[in-house]
Subunit: 445 residues, 2 copies
């Protein structure tokens, strides 16, 4: 590396008062961000050099929890991303459009971007990062995954000296809250969901959370960083928690497991040729680090070589926690702007151009949990075993208990099996006369 | 901020092959670091630009697990820190001297430093960082605390937008391993220690671990980053685990606690005027996030506003994990060198000059656990209560069980009390005729 460098820098630095922000959106996260930036005592001193220059909102008449000077708040969001005075755009409005267009315009105008928008990044990341690299600006997204938990930056920086083997996360607080309550109270999914909606832990339309779509957005982002390439969101297998019953939670507990909605990105083979990225309810051994993550908390477990396992735990949502992540990205950009750096920092920029090949779910190799309702025939376990054996499915444990309306209940946990083979075995088992139904099929980690 | 800047850069960049490292020490961590840097496929591409230029060792004849070209390995450590070709010094030799002198010489020579040396940093940090700031170089220390867990960088960067209220860690793997085994096996401290030494989890001279000195070094470093000032190591109260008995572990369990060696830096009052920094065995509620951190694992819980609680968990030691941290620091420096930045990055540099005022342990306000052996007198609990009351100590729970050689055993847990008051009460209680002895006094979180 060069030991001798001469720099001649002409900057307009002397007159400038600070870094100017344009904030798009003044909802929960936007309000939290403004509150943090307006109350800097006891925080990093660099925050004092930030000026909230414009805040874009949908309605000027809506009552706000923060005070902003006249002229700062505007409904003209396009004017903000086109304002030459503004250095950094903070996109905390959410949704796909106009967020995407505003981000792209800001980038085209040479502005750095901080966003909390997992939906837009997981769908338009390729377009956004390509534009950012061309314009020589940074797009920062710590708040997009895990709320306040610092996980994006560690993955991009500290942990990137490792070969990442897997990223496994509880990244959706709503579903974790529901599953935790179902577990501790023995309640039904629908009852807990209704109560969670009443308490504000679940949205009126809970689809994005409950069906795993939010978690899929997040694991796509984490996988992209951990495995060094772009992810096509359509390749992420996604299954929500609507089908998880209190019966299964109770069987799982007897077998030494808890049920969690996990978002998983993992190399399936040691030669790293097969990467599986998926979201589904999962039986997690009670001794697993993720098993004790309860309520609205999030946790992300990263496995790599040589580090082994590290886990990041914290609040996955909320105004304050998310504002912490947004402001940490702003701080990082301000620090970078302060260095007057002529070249972009390779640890802040996005460096992926290739798309990652994702293994289809039928090729996944995993353990399964399945619950069968069977007619009360003495040979039914034998028949199940024969059918499983035919497709190479071997069983780790079989539990036969309980009767519901003349039906026996059989629960099996398999050894590792290719999902396609397991599904074929199930299809054949379903045709057996002794089988009434297969109410649950869940994967086991 | 300036929108217009002109840079004229004359650098010798074109000819340079990469960033040159001088590594001091080729023990466990040094070997792990060299192995990682020699095997870069699948890791961050920037690692390929690093050249292991010199490695300083004590003995050339010792067999090594890594191959290095002729001329790279040398016993002349001073020549390494004075070599003008070298950009970064990686100090992984440990110990106080000559590590301190070599680091200071490297800094004086304009070299950036990566160190895993918690003992040197906690003692000579002020001197080292002052020198580094004067020379305009960075001193990076991710590996000094928590092995591979990224915690130094999050504290310096992401989390620094928060007002930090407390940092609480299990930062010594040896003592956590011993306490975990005492707990699960019901064994005595001395037996587990002997076995841990046999298995290589504890050193032949276990003092630094067992007596909490290693944890004190680490919490001094964490506190300095979290609370933004220098720490005088002498101000850190330190108590090890030699006195923790299986009896206390068993009583704690009955009361809903586990016993952990915690390293704590915490604002005691809401006005942040009193900062307490300390290491001691602690009763931790079984539901606390740190209660389930077992074996050689480390975890650091950070509490702040507005983030709430975040926790970092992972392997606290070991060649691979520590090498991951060392290399993440090297990567960060390489990235910074690549940007040809004319100004130092305020998020990488150390910004503390003031010393933090640490509250003496007598001023600590905490709950206590105490175990008394008393003569079998009917009024003994009453006498204890009277004496505690006199000094403002109120009791949360009192358990009287068991008899050992005609003595009754009484265990109390207090409400929050000023430690000085509690000690005065104990001094008076010790003089009571009914009291045989006070075998254990532990703090409760």
């Amino acid at each position: 590396m060069p030991r001798l460098q001469l720099f001649f820098i002409y900057s307009l630095d002397a007159k400038s008062v600070g870094v100017k922000l344009g904030i798009l959106g003044l909802g929960t996260v936007g309000t939290g961000t403004v509150q943090l930036l307006q109350d800097t005592a006891g925080r990093h001193p660099l925050l004092k050099e930030i000026e909230i220059y414009r805040v874009g909102v949908r309605s000027l008449s809506k009552p706000r929890q923060v005070e902003l000077s006249t002229g700062v708040v505007t409904t003209d969001l396009e004017a903000i991303v086109n304002d030459p005075e503004i250095d950094i755009i903070v996109e905390v409005m959410g949704g796909l459009e106009p967020a995407r267009t505003l981000i792209l315009t800001a980038i085209k105008n040479g502005k750095h971007v901080v966003t909390a928008n997992k939906a837009a990044i997981s769908r338009f990341g390729a377009e956004i990062f390509t534009a950012a690299n061309q314009a020589g600006v940074y797009v920062m997204l710590e708040a997009a995954v895990g709320g306040g938990i610092p996980v994006i930056q560690p993955l991009k920086q500290s942990l990137s000296v490792n070969r990442i083997h897997g990223i496994t996360g509880i990244v959706n607080g709503t579903t974790n809250y529901i599953l935790t309550r179902m577990q501790t109270e023995g309640s039904d999914f629908n009852d807990v969901l209704a109560d969670a909606q009443r308490l504000g832990y679940a949205e009126a339309d809970p689809t994005a959370d409950i069906d795993g779509l939010d978690a899929a957005d997040k694991i796509a982002i984490l996988a992209s960083l951990g495995f060094d390439g772009r992810i096509n969101l359509q390749d992420v297998y996604c299954e929500g928690i609507r089908q998880v019953s209190k019966t299964d939670i109770s069987y799982a507990a007897k077998l030494g497991f808890v049920i969690k909605l996990l978002a998983i990105a993992k190399h399936q083979t040691s030669d790293h040729s097969q990467l599986s990225v998926r979201v589904h309810p999962t039986l997690v051994p009670q001794t697993h680090p993720l098993a004790s993550i309860n309520g609205v908390y999030n946790a992300i477990l990263v496995e790599g070589e040589p580090i082994g396992q590290v886990m990041f735990f914290g609040p996955g949502a909320g105004a304050g926690a998310t504002a912490s992540a947004v402001c940490s990205d702003i701080l990082n950009l301000v620090a970078t702007l302060k260095t007057n750096t002529p070249k972009s920092n390779p640890l802040l920029a996005c460096r992926h151009e290739n798309y990652l090949q994702i293994t289809p779910i039928s090729e996944l190799v995993t353990r399964f949990y399945a619950r069968f309702l069977t007619k009360d025939q003495p040979s039914v376990i034998g028949k199940l075993g024969t059918c499983f054996g035919k497709y190479g499915v071997s069983l780790e444990s079989v539990v036969q208990t309980g009767f519901q309306a003349q039906l026996a209940e059989i629960v099996v946990v398999t050894h590792d099996v290719r999902e396609g083979d397991f599904r074929q075995a199930l299809a054949e088992i379903e045709t057996l006369e002794a089988i009434d139904s297969i109410p649950s099929i869940l994967r086991v980690i």
